[in-house]
């Protein structure tokens, strides 16, 4: 279990999870930074899933796909995708190489590595578990808690 190292607080509320699902960016950042961390963490998971489903894609393609599925998450600030891609690549979850785009120009294509696939599995499980806990929490009635 690599992702949770150093994140010992049980994550009940998303907004307090400093480590997010994937620790991204400056983890020593202040409160301002936390929100983007969460966003980036979610984004990373989306990137992995996108590449898992669609195979090799360039940055624009990934952005489009995420936009299609998540609605307005990437309606603005598509550029924030690139630092996430870089981070994932540096961690070895994805790999990239030059290829030809639809415009027939040079574009950087990203694909999931074996390690990334493993990571995606773990993250997915974690995510579902968390979602389940939160779900139960929200469904709980007042008498259940007393």
């Amino acid at each position: 279990m690599t992702h949770a190292a150093g994140c010992s607080t049980p994550y009940l509320l998303l907004s307090q999870r400093k480590c997010a699902i994937l620790p991204v960016g400056n983890q020593n950042g202040g409160a301002m930074k936390q929100k983007t961390d969460v966003l980036q963490g979610t984004l990373a998971l989306m990137v992995l899933k996108t590449l898992d489903v669609l195979g090799s894609l360039h940055g624009y393609g990934i952005a489009r796909r995420i936009e299609q599925i998540s609605g307005d998450l990437l309606a603005v600030n598509q550029g924030t995708l690139y630092p996430v891609l870089l981070k994932l690549e540096q961690e070895g979850a994805i790999a990239s190489e030059w290829g030809a785009s639809e415009n027939n120009r040079r574009a950087r294509f990203y694909r999931l590595t074996r390690e990334g696939r493993k990571q995606l599995q773990v993250e997915t499980q974690d995510w579902e578990q968390t979602a389940a806990i939160i779900g139960r929490f929200f469904e709980a009635k007042a008498e259940d808690l007393s």
Binding site: T2, G25, Y60, A63
Partner: protein, 898 residues
Amino acid sequence: MRSLRRFLTRLINSATRRAQDERLREEIAEHIALQTTENLRVGLSPVEAHRQAMLKFGGVEAMKQDYRAERGLLWIENLLQDVRFAIRSLRRTSGLTAFVVITLALGIGMTSGTFSMVDALIFRPYPVRHPSGVVTLVSTTHDSSFDAFSYREYLDIRDKSKSYDGVIANADMEAVGFSAEPGATPRVRGGMMVSGNYFHVLGVEPRLGRGFREDEDRVHGRDPVVVLGPDFWKHEFASDPSVLGRTIRLNGTDFTVIGIAPETFPGMQIFGHPDFYMPLAMARVFSTNRQKNFFEDRDDRELNVRARLKPGTTLQQAQNELTVLAKNFESEYPKVNRNRGAAVHTQFEMRTRADDVNWKFGVIFVILALAVLLVACTNIAGLLLSRARTRTREIAVRLALGAGRFRLIRLLLTESLILASLGGLVGIAIGYGVVEWFHSFQNVIFMTDLPVAIPFRMDTRILLASLALSALSALLCGLAPALQSTRVDLVNGLKSADVDVPGRKRLWARNVLVVAQVSTSLMLLTASFLMVRGFQHSLLDGTGFAKDHLLMTSFDPRLVQYNAAQTQQFYKLLAERVREAPAVQSEALTQNVPLGEDGFDGIAFVPDGFQMPRDRENFNSTMDTVDEGYFETMGIPILRGRGFLASDTADAPRVAVVNEQFAKHYWPGADAVGKHIRLDSSGGTPVEIVGVAQPIKYQATIEKPMDFLYMPLAQHPIARMTLMLRSSGDPLQLVPSVKDVVRTLSPNLPMLDTRTYEDFYLNKAVEGPRIAMKLVGSMGVVGLLLAIAGLYGLVAYNVSRRTHEIGIRMALGAAQSDVLRLVMGKGLVLVGMGTVIGLAMGFALEQLMNSMLFNAGGVDIVAYIVVVPSLFLVTMLAAYLPARRASQIAPTQALRYE
């Protein structure tokens, strides 16, 4: 694992920044292009399509920054940037950089060089396993806190104490006649007798063969075995391993080589590195003192005793145990152990004992070197301060563009750190030079055939210390300027190239620098002047005897196995025959030459008619054994009574000559001639004082007057003696005739240490102090030069900054002299303050030096009369020159000056 990988990738990325930037740029372009195409397809106009694409992408620069932060290691990149920038800006002012580096290097070099000396003399641990557990045991009396133990005492301590994992003993290193083959003329080498457990307890594993077994040290005279020292093995036997088991001859007795000590163990002494080690049980072959029985006499104290503390045993416990043992000795053997205690000391305590001057010189050298370094640092701080000020505008621009203050301070500190590293490196080179310089005096200072070496060296400890010192100096020099120059008023800073922040803080720092410089260099100068004068004084005082036209050469008839009677006969005939040789005016035999290498023997006695203090058994004095020609040959006047005569034979009544100090000490106001002393105790052999000699310098030119006693050779036989011949011409011309005489008496007996006494004296008594004077003097000069340069720089800089103001003053009618007064006044006050503080520091240092080295009380007024005004003059000149230049500027020119 993942984070390590990420770190490595980022590290690599830091190095390949440019290619990566290119890749990102391309990706962004392609992304926007694809989005634009998409937008066009929806039906937007080309311009609008591109605009929408850009909007959707978001802030490119902000993203780039995130990307970069993600990609590389920001702090490494920043650091590299800082270093690159610092190197560039240092190169731009290469003159200043060179000056700073050299200044710093001088300070650091001197400190590390002298520290190598102090390290060897005080701090370097014994070259053995777990050196911190090794303690030294000493016998203590009223007269000596560091006395040795006798063989019997050693055995008792070894067998009865429980605090130690082994107690070892060794005699002092002594001259031993060595020959590799029987029949060859013996040569003198340094041998040391050690206890059988010596190597074992110290944890020294022989390089070849084995150390002594304990049983080899049990039966007296049974096991003639020897362990060779590493250097001796290398030089004498060319590192031949087959030497093991071979027989060599020591003082005429055959010894079997059983082992070679390892390279890492040159010996336990600082200077002396024994050529070979013999078991104590073989003492009869090496014993020097024929009056005592080494194995039996409890007052024949020749052994240095060390022990390894048991783990968990404290020094205090060991001390308590030893005190009880010493008490027992006292009650069991009141005759020889009355009022005799014992103490346990650590290595550090032994190295910093009060009666040793070497380490004190070392410490004073280091203090002075640190003072030089301090002057250098203040100098550099001043320079950097001035430099930072001329960069005010640059810094203001940086601040205005959003550079953080911390980042700027870091940048400036990087600069001084680079300066300090350069200075440190050059300084270490200088340190090596200083150590080499020390080494070059090895043969000058130690005029002896015994294996002694100057063990100063630059090892890792010194190097680390030097580097730490450099880093510290970087902080010292750089922090204040960095803090100050980043505290700029932006508006003013941008308007003018050089602006003064209102307020006194800035000037205050500068003034402190000037005062510190003047006072430290004054202290340095005073110290070096005092030391030079101290030595000169001792040399000018004279030694009290004639040093010219003397030939000296030593004999040790034990080398050819003479017994006591043969030895006496040899010296008697030698004296008679050489006296008749041509060009020999007079002849003398002495156990030790004055100011020689070996310490004089001590003698215990009770003076007749002297009221002994209740707690004392006897008194001690240093002594020499001489023949009847000694006083005449050495030109030592006999003030009252007579010297020794040929009639003072072994059968005649015992006689002695004392020096005037001795006579005054024990018979104040009376004539010592005719009085008696008794040897050892009030019941001992009576000896009549037949003469009083004028005191001379006995052991060192800087010694204070001491009691001294002479005994005639005929009544106090000694094996190793030195022949002194006074010639009418060149003393060395006597050598062949002495050789002839010796050959007729004893063909195989070597002549040792043959040279003129003057030669010996110059090297031994003059050269050592001269080296110290050179060292201290050069520190004083370097300190002064640095202080002058620094002072000049600071004042000149101040003046140049006030050029504008001076122009206005002069335009308004100020005279040249007014301007001069204005500028000089400030300098005067600072120099004055520095002088006062420096005087106080110099005075404190003088007290320290007097108490440590010269034994002279009081204040050397002359030193201050010379040093203070000259420093004052020089510093005033440093202030005057720029002031004069300022007062000569034409007002029009000054007003136009920015």
